[in-house]
């Protein structure tokens, strides 16, 4: 399993702070019994049942209240369902800590939906409603995946295994009105590449973690666009011990009482000679009570590489507002226009604008 922190250097160790935890109503064995692949799920449950829900201070989130039974989402896709998946062992093979181990296990054990895909080509996935899902994608050629989620509650995992020399273009469009805990794991084999455009719009709390492990000469470029009028905590994690590349260039828009949290953990081990790593987060604070937090951290044990990180925040620049107002837009229109432009500066599908408008209006 890929652990988030490996704070060891020679004989030295550093303390890793664990979140406080809380006991809450939880799913048990009787639910697993009624789900397909129950024996597989039961194995994971052994670990799950001993972990309580984390208390996330930054998100002001004390666990979450689960629906009485795992909800079943409306799924429209041209890929296979996770229930038809012959590769469930991938869940164990490519396992990771995520934003919190509890939730990675929750989605793997109690999923009622998900996608299982192997191959290349164009895939579209649309989920509507509440969901606990887990997804597996094994990409062996050139693939273009577009995923849409529109709902109130979701706990989800996705594992992407990008085979040698393969190319993945991934677009995620998400709208959440309640709570979402999302964990994504990319395993990128030699010389494979990923471009990930990720729009997350929320009126509720979102905790998302993107874990990346890349082999030699793998590349990933992530463009997160996050807007929230509640709280969104997004974590980008990578660990490298060979030459590869990861770029994260995040834009956030914090609306009303919203809070955007961008975190980065780039763990670069000895051996990543010639690697190229960059994480940048910029957030616009739209309203007086909007806030932002950034922790773009770097852990470096290799000297011959390029690694940089940056973070900044600002209200909407006065000169931009003035310019738009000089072309006849009132203050609110101008703000909305700038915020929307800031989120949709990269190419998203047409649904993106609708999601953004739902939270900007």
């Amino acid at each position: 399993m890929v652990k988030t922190f490996e704070l060891v250097h020679g004989k030295f160790r550093s303390i890793v702070r664990n979140p406080r935890r809380i006991k809450l109503d939880d799913y048990g064995e009787e639910i697993i019994k009624n789900l397909p692949n129950s024996s597989f799920r039961m194995v994971l449950f052994e670990e799950y049942k001993n972990i309580d829900f984390p208390i996330w201070r930054r998100l002001e989130m004390e666990g979450l209240s689960l629906p009485s039974r795992p909800p079943i989402v409306k799924l429209e896709t041209n890929a296979k369902s996770i229930y038809e998946c012959s590769k469930l062992d991938i869940l164990k093979e490519y396992d990771f800590e995520g934003s919190d181990r509890k939730y990675v296990l929750l989605a793997d054990i109690f999923h009622t939906s998900g996608v299982c895909f192997e191959g290349s080509g164009k895939i579209s996935v649309k989920m509507t409603g509440d969901s606990i899902d887990t997804n597996v994608y094994v990409i062996d050629g050139e693939a273009k995946i577009k995923r849409i989620f529109d709902g109130n509650f979701r706990v989800t995992n996705s594992r992407f295994i990008i085979k040698k020399n393969a190319k993945l273009y991934l677009e995620d469009l998400l709208f959440v009105s309640g709570v979402e805990v999302e964990n994504i794991f990319f395993y990128i084999e030699e010389n494979a590449s990923v471009e990930y455009n990720d729009l997350g719009v929320s009126k509720g709390k979102v905790a998302k973690a993107v874990f990346v492990i890349g082999e030699k000469d793998s590349k990933i470029v992530i463009n997160p666009r996050v807007a929230s009028s509640s709280a969104a905590d997004v974590l980008y994690f990578s660990r490298s011990n060979v030459r590869n590349m990861m770029y994260v260039d995040g834009h956030g828009v914090s609306i009303g009482d919203g809070k955007i949290i961008f975190r980065g953990i780039m763990d670069i081990k000895k051996g990543a000679v010639g690697g190229d790593y960059s994480e940048k987060f910029h957030t616009l604070l739209l309203d007086e009570s909007s806030t932002f937090e950034a922790i773009p951290s770097l852990y470096v044990q290799e000297s011959e590489l390029s690694a940089q990180h940056g973070a900044s925040s600002s209200p909407i620049p006065d000169d931009e507002l003035f310019y738009l107002m000089s072309r006849g837009f009132d203050l609110e229109e101008a703000k909305t226009m700038i915020a929307q432009g800031f989120l949709l500066d990269i190419d998203f599908s047409k649904e993106a604008e609708d999601f953004v408008k739902r939270v900007l209006k």
Binding site: H9, G10, F12, S14, I15, A294, E302, Q308, A311, S313
Partner: protein, 466 residues
């Protein structure tokens, strides 16, 4: 004191320890009797004894910080033994390890000072110099004395400022400090006085237990200005297992303090120092430091920008080498409108050292028009070392402008080659490059310190090149 209450609200458990973890630390020898004895021997007023006892209670309930280097190697028996009054500190010159003597030779420190620095002698024979300076100070109304003396002569002034911005509840080592503190400097600069020369704590090296739990209070009154140099400029011989000093700085309206540190503790020391400044309207606080020494460190000089239009400037350079795990950084709290801060850090890790730079920058709600920037550059001299950078930005005010930038750099072989092609040895070339990297701090220092830093750098490089 309202200030103190406000500060407590500011420091959540990210910065200090949380107050709710209860567990008993049993330390043989560290008990109420010891603490009372220290207080009695020092002939302290009752309130100070009360602070010590309260701190001891708090210490017993504190766990180690939940981040940073592991600290289980700290030998609290030794800590207590040295804190015990009357403990024998003087040693004979023969007992001083060769490594330290060698270092003194290289640094060109005069014999007399070497003995003090090595803990052999307790008196610095610089009375002549000092008494001249003292006349100037008396004329200006500047109080510059040791803490024991200050408690006796200026009891109210000390009481009002002692462990107010670093309360014993802050974290484990602040509590331990509160119980066992001894020695340190007290500086008061009266209203409007601009101190004509840098004040150096070097003059104060006349207390036997200096260097373990010293307490420093600096008050720069309205409109006054001063530069203070904390000179642990020579490699202090590690008689102390743990250094947990506290520095509290009060910068009043329109005042300005520049605090310079050259830290070069012996490489066996745990450096758990707490340094904090509170700045009133239009005031300026500058922490400027160059760090070379210690075994494990957790040091984060902080500034609380309490008054409108106050300013903080934190510049640090550090060299982390063989056998060191240095966790350092800074914290700046913007609590009032139009406050500004700049943080600039440069770190070098080499020869297997592990350096961690943390920055916490908070713009509180209401700090309208605040501006802050954090910039850090780390250089890795080899791939045996480790360099972590962990900045935390918390922006709770929309009308503020905050930016952070950091990168990992490397001294290129071409640079070294170029210098070597001009006849420099590898060591000289590296020293020169590191020296250039540290220039922002060095240029702030009086010449004699700058020269010492040069020597320290070449000693470190020599050690790593072999």
């Amino acid at each position: 004191m309202n200030d103190v209450k406000k500060i407590k609200e500011v420091f959540d458990d990210r910065i200090t320890e949380s107050f709710d973890t209860e567990y008993e630390v049993l330390l043989p020898g560290l008990n109420e009797d010891i603490v009372k004895e220290i207080s009695r021997v020092k002939n302290e007023p009752e309130w100070m004894e009360a602070v010590r006892l309260k701190s001891l209670e708090i210490f017993k309930k504190k766990r180690d910080p939940q981040f940073g280097p592991t600290l289980e190697e700290i030998d609290y028996d030794k800590v207590v033994a040295y804190a015990r009054p009357g403990a024998k500190k003087a040693r004979s010159w023969d007992e001083v390890p060769d490594e330290i003597k060698e270092a003194f030779d290289k640094l060109g420190i005069p014999e007399a000072e070497r003995k003090i620095l090595a803990g052999v002698e307790a008196q610095l024979d610089s009375e002549v110099v000092y008494s001249h300076v003292k006349k100037v100070f008396d004329k200006l109304g500047i109080i510059f004395t040791d803490m024991d003396n200050a408690i006796k002569k200026y009891p109210d002034l000390v009481k009002d400022h002692f462990m107010r911005i670093v309360p014993p509840t802050d974290h484990k080592f602040a509590a331990l400090h509160g119980a066992l503190w001894s020695g340190g400097t007290f500086l008061y600069v009266p209203k409007g006085v601009k101190v004509p020369m840098p004040l150096q704590s070097f003059f104060m090296v006349n207390l036997p237990s200096m260097g373990q739990f010293e307490h420093t209070i600096i008050i720069v009154d309205e409109g006054a200005q001063a530069t203070y140099i904390e000179g642990c400029s020579a490699p202090l011989y590690g008689v102390h297992n743990l250094h947990a000093g506290v520095v509290e700085v009060y910068v009043k309206r329109g005042a300005k303090l520049k605090y310079l540190t050259i830290q070069n503790w012996s490489k066996s020391v745990f450096n758990m120092e707490t340094k904090r400044a509170i700045v009133e309207k239009d005031g300026t606080m500058e922490w400027i430091s160059a760090s070379f020494g210690s075994y494990k460190s957790m040091v984060y000089p902080s500034v609380i920008l309490k008054g409108e239009n106050s300013h903080a400037n934190v510049i640090s350079v550090s060299l982390t080498g063989k056998g060191q795990h240095i966790d350092a950084g800074t914290k700046v709290y913007h609590m009032a409108p139009r406050t500004t801060s700049t943080i600039s850090s440069k770190g070098i890790s080499m020869a297997g050292g592990w350096s961690v730079f943390r920055a916490l920058l908070r713009i509180s709600k209401g700090a309208k028009g605040a501006k802050a920037s954090v910039e850090c550059t780390s250089v890795m001299m080899d791939n045996e070392s480790r360099s972590d950078t962990i900045p935390i930005l918390e922006i709770l005010e929309q009308d503020s402008d905050v930016g952070h930038e950091a990168k990992i750099g490397r001294i290129s072989d071409e640079e070294i080659f170029y210098l070597m092609s001009r006849g420099l040895s590898e060591m000289e070339a590296k020293t020169l490059i590191i020296r250039g990297f540290m220039e922002p701090v060095i240029e702030e220092l009086p010449l004699e310190y700058a020269i010492e830093i040069n020597r320290l750098i070449s000693m470190e490089v020599e050690g790593s090149v072999g």
